[in-house]
């Protein structure tokens, strides 16, 4: 029985480790400036914790086999512990865990502690059951007023956001269902939600943030590779949660300019 335990535990350990190491299923390719740092720290954590995982499981299996009771086994060792070992492995574990965390702090800080660049593209992202809307401020650089009374989701676009037509600033706002951003320029996202908590998640950008009703959360990221990226809602928001997704299109600066100009022209 001890041998079977060892074999099963070791087999499970090796099999799972294989799929991790082979990256059969892995984080999507990073496409933002922050992705490299995050992925690197993920790799460091992964290697260290992976070693601990494999070691602990192998030792467990080994001990179960080695100290199985047999006819001629010696009596068990009568001991209540070893204080030196306790202190040693406590300190080592503490260093490992807290060390990992401290190492991650600069990356978290650069993501979240500083405000967006003043030249960033501003996009207001609003989540509502079960659709994302994206608003650009237009040539005047200001987001126009919205009124809850004017919100009409069935109208889509400006209607869904409840844009106030009487506010001059809102006349040039561009509202779309697809998010366009230029590559290599910081994007400032102003996250809002109308009804319940949603979450704006773009896996490739390593970007995730809950959109909370009553809050306007400002975050930023910098896409570095052009392409189409899926946006998936990452906070349970009702029956349509599984289909509340969108597309983030990262295009060249020129394409972005052209696209935006065309949208703004439609507003004249």
């Amino acid at each position: 029985m001890g041998l079977i335990l060892l074999l099963v535990i070791w087999l499970i350990t090796f099999a799972s480790a294989y799929f991790f190491i082979a990256k059969t299923w892995w984080l999507p390719t990073g496409a933002s400036a922050a992705a490299a740092g995050i992925d690197h720290h993920f790799a460091v954590t992964f290697v260290l914790m992976g070693i601990v995982f494999v070691a602990a499981q192998l030792i467990l299996g080994f001990l179960a086999w080695k100290y199985r009771e047999q006819k001629n086994s010696r009596p068990a060792r009568y001991m209540h512990g070893n204080n030196t070992m306790e202190v040693t492995w406590t300190i080592l574990t503490f260093i490992l865990f807290v060390g990992l965390n401290w190492a991650s702090e600069p990356i978290w800080g650069s993501e979240r502690f500083r405000a967006a660049d003043s030249r960033a593209v501003q996009v207001e992202v609003t989540g509502m059951q079960f659709q994302w809307y994206f608003r650009y401020p237009g040539p005047d650089g200001k987001f126009g007023a919205t009124k809850p009374e004017l919100v009409d989701p069935s109208a889509g676009g400006e209607g869904a956001l409840g844009l106030d037509p009487n506010d001059t600033a809102s006349k040039d706002d561009v509202v779309t269902g697809t998010m366009f951003v230029p590559v290599n320029r910081e994007v400032e996202v102003i996250l809002k939600a109308h009804d319940v908590i949603h979450s704006f998640f773009v896996p490739a950008m390593r970007f995730k943030q809950d959109a909370v009703p009553g809050l306007a959360i400002r975050l930023h990221f910098t896409p570095i590779t052009t392409g189409d990226y899926e946006i998936a809602c990452a906070e349970l928001c009702g029956l349509g949660h599984y289909r509340m997704h969108g597309i983030l299109k990262v295009v060249s600066e020129e394409e972005f300019g052209t696209w935006l100009a065309a949208r703004e022209a439609e507003k004249q």
Binding site: P75, R77, Y78, E111, P213, E230
Partner: protein, 584 residues
Amino acid sequence: MATGEFAFHETHAHAAPRSFIRKWVFSLDHKVIGLQYYFLALTAVFVGMLLSLLMRIHLIWPNVSLPLLGELKPETYLSLLTMHGTIMVFFVLTTAPQGGFGNYFLPIQIGAADMAFPVLNMLSFWVTFLAFLVLLAAFFVTGGAPLHGWTGYAPLSALPSAGPGQGAGADLWIISIALFCLGALMSALNFITTTLDMRAKGMSLMRLPLTCWAWFITAILGLLAFGVLFAAGILLLLDRDVGTSFFVPLVIVNGQIAGHRGGSPLLWQHLFWFFGHPEVYIAILPAMGLCSQLVSVFSRKPIFGYRAMVYAMLSIGVLGFMVWGHHMFMSGISPYSAFAFSVMTMAIGVPSAIKTFNWLGTLWGGRIRFTPPMLFAIGFVSLFVTGGISGPFLAQPVLDIPLHETYFVIAHFHLIMGVASIFGIFAATYYWFPKMFGRMMNDRLAKLHFWISFVGTYAVFMPMHYYGMAAGLRRYSQSTDVAYMHSLLPLQKFITFAAFVTIAGQFIFLFNLFWSMKAGKKATDNPWEATTLEWTTATPPPHDNFGGHTPVVHNGPYEYSVPGAPRDYVMQTDPRTMEVGHKA
């Protein structure tokens, strides 16, 4: 202390009951109440497993028509998910280990005749039972069971208009949880008072079995945490039904402005997780205590580092109240507080690691007997390690960015809390069944049950790590609408089939349990040759646990293989002369 003896006789001034109702229904006997909790949890776990099976089927075949239920709608999936989580966390993991085995064995292991307050004990069970009925009722009201997840985030949980099931079903959910909180608080009161005030002579705190320490610390956590959940539930109920705005700001649902303003959805999360994090320790601590017990008994060796184990559990308890924000890294809290919470969270990994080292240290140099309880204890250690390893990923906010709300989280908490705790419940059942029912459970069936469960749970939950790293999101009723998730469907299929097999294996346990009650091999008073007080008394224990005499304790709980002793175990009540060269 002399008063212990007097108290002993005092609480059992009432004679053993004779009528069926007094003996088995409204019993004051902690042993009967413990069994009542256990069977409530047993019912709940099979309901919970059934719900998860339906979820798994829907995930891989969203359009299949099931017998009786037809095609499952997305909202039905979400209500299955909500009820699965609620039932499992509350009515299984918080009920069987503490209310079930704790109630039965805490008084006996400390040498008492019953719990401190038997009437309160009985009340706490019936309130919990009522809570379960109220929860199940949610399935049958208009709109059905709620769909907001066991975490019940507002405003989704606070707005009846936010989805089907968010009407009466959500109200019943809150009422059920509020009742559960009351039952848990009453139970905690009993556990704490009993442990502090009713230990037999010689049973100092540092001679308590680690199971008793675990139940004691779990009760303290419960005492401090369930009041917070209760308060949060009251506030949510007021928001839903009276129009207050504790949690709901001005919101527009489907074009309609709801009549709230100024509330904070984050307030719900803070209150919920202030409870929720200690809750996960409530779910796992008793199993940790039991694991310590079993690796010691079945290695014939004292637990490695008894004091360290106690301090580790205490620190887990204390730190457990300081880490709740790690559930909210992506919620919109300040990134500075996120960092503070993450440091505390990494710190709490340390005592858990210490316990793991000590379990391994106990096995080392032992003489291991592979009884069913021991197999599940070893399985527990393996699962705890695996589940624990994914913790440091999630504890770091930067890594939480890609992993939050994915299946990586589901893998983490199922392994370290769900399945590990269930293995603890199985281990406890196989271990204490002889004492409770006077018979042994069938050994072959037990081992078969172990292998299917051990391999099966790894097959179910290990792949979820991969799915989550690939950004597969949780609480999605189907992956059909997001291309990158849909490409991961083969993983989900594997998981579903593994789940079928694993759940099927649980029926072996169910059969073994009931069959052995009638036809199992008769058990001696101490079939495992263990040292703690429950093994000194008759099988099953008499009404006052010790047949009229008060136990006097001379030794620690883990005196195995003492050099020079006549046999390889020294009972806690054996005279001290049997112990050579070590002070307990």
